[in-house]
Amino acid sequence: MKEKRKHVIVAGGGVAGMEAAGSLAEMGIRVTLIEKGEDPGGHLLQWHALFPGRRPAEEVRKYLRKRIAHENINIITRTTVEKIRHHGHEIIADLSGGTEERADAVIVATGFDLFDAHRKEEYGYGIYDNVITSADLEEMFNRKRVVRADGSVPSRIGFIHCVGSRDEKVNNNHCSKVCCVAAVKQAIEVRKLLPQCEVFCFYMDMRMFGPYYEELYRESQEVHNVNYIRGKVSEASVNINNRLVIKVEDTLAGRPLKMELDLMVLMVGMEMSKSGARLAEASGLNTGINRFLESADHHYGSNRSGVAGIFYAGTCTAPMNITDTISHSRAAVEETVRYLGGR
């Protein structure tokens, strides 16, 4: 009897899920890609340009779209995987619509949620008109119009780093890694789009971990005149001219500082996605104190769940940039294929 073709479910259609689905399909494995949104693409759909080179995000989106345009891949959108359970050698995924999907293995690629800036009320997101998040700013770049709520052009913009990251008060002790360089990238873009606008970044540490990140940081200061102030913003208010007034301690100068801003951008961090957390809870998958999925081994098993047939890809395990997500996703495919071959 001819052996049945192997089938893998990929939970999540962001960068990690799309790359995993593409790689598996290429090897002749049947894939069901399950995405909660309207279309696959994840957070990348909102991005205008990518660090460090500021290439258009569309280029990577195009690559990923091509990757999943394969006959072996069946895409189910507006659906989430609610629970993964074992039935003999088979794995059953319960989907949000009440249906179920049977497969030989599952790759969990549920990704991350952006930190909800409302939870840091002192910054006034949702309360003051001119407080936006980094994601909102990226949308503005897409429309090529960076303006205040009343339509006027800002003359001073402040970027607040580490919103919802490295912050015990919101139960997030982890660093989201990519926000620092994202702020540098966005600061440069603001300066290029609005040459008259001053830009200030308020940071705790600048963590330029990837290739060419440090160079970008330097460029932003030397070429684009972006100002960096080391210190965390404590609170924001609005003055009579409807300008934002922030209080911050300049920890290098060792003095408190008050500054007026026209627009304040909150660099929101990454958190375990809600749907991913639900899936982990229902399926008995381990999560760490940072609430992301906990891999079987930190160093050489970061794609393994510790449960037979379930593998992890991308930012459901920790914050990552796109480069690392794609590498991590390919490694998950390798682990999955080895598992399928060994059965």
Binding site: R119, E121, E122, I127, K169
Partner: protein, 631 residues
């Protein structure tokens, strides 16, 4: 007569404890301040005396407060305390009435059966014997419960029970032995002589038919006397010292003596009045939600009593006041902790067993060194206003509350000045909670200056932390109101036109507003006016702390998050649309702990304002003044 020598352990113990108690009380009295001495003297010859007698009867004997909380636990305490009391009283009457002489020494009443083994076989005496047996049975039933409680605390509805020192254990054992040994001693004696009530008589008859009762009886009389003697000798160094000291505490409290802000004879009496019952452990949220079981008030007080190094315990408290609320002895636990926080570094003395009998020892007040000064604060210029609005540091971290308050004040047409709109100076309470009173005083003086100069009649604040300190530690002419009170006033006088929101909401009493300041009704009135208010499991004076408390500077974020999650779970059990609080700190804490929408009471009211905002003049400020003068 030589066989009566067994009474001496009891006699020595009794005389020791009587003399000791008198001496100790005299020293405490001598150490009271002049004013407190006068209070106590006046109280002793006035109404407070009767009040104290009543309270001693109701609380120290009947244990009414414990009864209300937990009937089984109440019965246990009542049978031991009231039962023993009755046994002594009726024993004395018995000895006086049926004995050979009148006015016998106490040992003749306690060991009555030994001295009158054949007494009580007929008539009234026999009836009296049954009554005495009944009292003994009453005590023994309580004792049985006490033994159960020690080994299975859960059975008595106590989640936790206190850990005891070895002296406590010996004293406890001797206490437990007193009544069974009395039962057996009397029974053996009655068995020999064919006397005794329904208990000792029948048990005695049964025992004497099996055993040589006449030979065994003296051993149990010895055990009875030794248990009593041991208990009395150990009393001053064990938790059972609370029994006599509580009586003194009740007299002092009813005479109007209060815990001030430093150590005094009264605070020392309070530390000795603690019975280490452990009720404070059961209600403490650090225990119930965060698994911390060694920082509660009972351990704090015991550490004070024995002069241990309790710096860690002193600091690790939310200062939420739940234990104050339930303490059956009524010890002011929060204020005691604050006093200890005010102290400078103190070497732990580690008192030895014998030191603990010491009479002259007294916790000295050590002035803490002032570490900071706010002398750089420039005096503010005069800015007159009728109503001052002080948001406070915490409210500046919840700008939605400020936005809502502005809308409400404008809508009601209140002419106000926003005192700290451009940033202000802290109210001083966080420093006070940390025991830094002198530093706090500088901030208080600075803010007082601004408020006095403004000539304001009303000071409205959005923060219960500020509210409490404005009311208690500032000397102001302006009436201090929390915004929930002020909004309630605006509604009552008809200055605010509000719609009805079809939302089911629950209300969380912030510690400093509820337990701390007694404001429970105004926020509820306001909420009920604009939405459907549902009740929650633990509210009003037993409200839970949100976990964000400024009172604790050592608790980790993880433990705080555990407390916050537990409290939020309790509050949102009915799945309300919204969780309402009246404190910016509670709001900030809950937002991280629950998926339910969290709002301040001001936000809820602002949402019920008609749109567009109408500007009308109001009499709010005038009414506020009127209520202030009315008291």
């Amino acid at each position: 007569m030589s066989s009566d020598i067994f009474i001496w352990p009891f006699n020595l113990g009794l005389y020791f404890i009587l003399i000791y108690s008198v001496v100790r009380s005299t020293i405490w009295f001598r150490n009271l301040s002049r004013a407190d001495k006068l209070r106590l003297q006046r109280g002793f010859f006035g109404m407070p005396f009767m009040q104290s007698i009543r309270e001693i009867f109701m609380e120290s004997l009947l244990h009414r407060r414990i009864f209300k909380k937990n009937p089984v636990l109440g019965y246990m305490h009542m049978s031991l305390a009231f039962g023993w009391f009755l046994l002594i009283v009726f024993g004395t009457i018995e000895a006086d009435f049926f004995g050979e002489r009148h006015l016998n020494p106490p040992s003749h009443a306690i060991f009555f059966r030994w001295f009158n083994p054949e007494h009580g076989t007929t008539g009234l005496a026999s009836l009296y014997g049954h009554w005495m047996d009944f009292l003994l049975a009453f005590i023994l039933s309580g004792l049985l419960l006490a033994i159960f409680k020690r080994f299975i605390p859960g059975m008595m509805g106590m989640k936790k029970t206190t850990r005891h020192t070895w002296t406590d254990r010996i004293a406890l054992t001797s206490l437990w032995l007193i009544f069974p040994s009395r039962l057996l001693a009397e029974s053996f004696t009655c068995g020999v002589h064919g006397s005794g009530g329904f208990l000792t008589g029948n048990l005695g008859a049964a025992l004497s038919s099996l055993l040589p009762a006449a030979d065994i009886a003296p051993y149990f009389w010895w055990l009875y006397s030794l248990s009593l003697g041991t208990f009395f000798f150990l009393l001053p160094v064990t938790r059972y010292f609370h029994i006599p000291v509580e009586l003194l505490l009740i007299f002092m409290r009813n005479s109007g003596i209060t815990t001030a802000d430093r150590w005094s004879a009264y605070t020392e009496v309070q530390t000795h009045a603690c019975s280490s019952c452990g009720v404070c452990i059961s209600v403490c949220q650090m225990s119930r939600a965060a698994g911390i079981n060694d920082m509660q008030s009972t351990y704090f007080v015991k550490g004070l009593r024995n002069e241990r190094d309790i710096a860690a315990i002193t600091a690790n408290c939310l200062m939420c006041g739940r234990c104050d609320e339930v303490c059956p002895v009524g010890i002011e636990l929060g204020p005691l902790r604050l006093i200890e926080r005010r102290q400078g570094e103190r070497p732990a003395t580690m008192l030895s067993f014998f030191d603990r009998y010491g009479l002259t020892r007294r916790r000295e007040h050590i002035e803490r060194e002032q570490t900071q000064s706010y002398s750089y604060l420039a005096p503010e210029k005069e800015q007159p206003a009728d109503v001052l609005f002080f948001a406070g540091c915490m409210t500046h971290l919840t700008p939605s509350v400020i936005v809502a308050m502005k809308k409400i004040l404008d809508s009601a047409g209140v002419r106000y000045r926003f005192m700290d709109e451009q940033g202000g100076v802290c109210c001083g309470r966080p420093l006070m909670l940390a025991g830094r009173d002198r530093e706090a005083r500088e901030l208080i003086n600075h803010n007082s200056d601004i408020i006095w100069k403004s000539g304001a009649k009303t000071l409205v604040t959005s923060c219960p932390i500020c509210y409490k300190v404005f009311r208690e530690s500032y000397y102001l002419e302006a009436q201090v109101m929390h915004h929930s009170e002020f909004i309630n006033l605006l509604i009552e006088e008809g200055s605010l036109r509000l719609g009805y929101l079809h939302r089911r909401v629950v209300y969380h009493d912030p510690c400093d507003l509820g337990r701390g300041s007694g404001i429970y009704d105004e926020p509820r009135a306001v909420i009920s006016y604009v939405a459907e208010l549902q009740s929650v499991a633990e509210e009003r004076s037993m409200s839970l702390c949100c976990g964000g408390s400024l009172g604790n500077l050592t608790l980790s974020s993880e433990k705080r998050a555990m407390i916050a999650a537990d409290t939020a779970r309790t509050l949102t059990q009915s799945a309300p649309d919204e969780l309402i609080t009246a404190c910016p700190l509670c709001k900030k804490t809950f937002v991280q702990a629950t998926e339910t929408r969290v709002s301040d009471i001001a936000e809820l009211v602002a949402a019920a304002l008609p749109r567009p905002v109408r500007k009308t003049r109001s009499r709010a400020s005038l009414t506020a003044v009127k209520t202030a003068t009315d008291g």
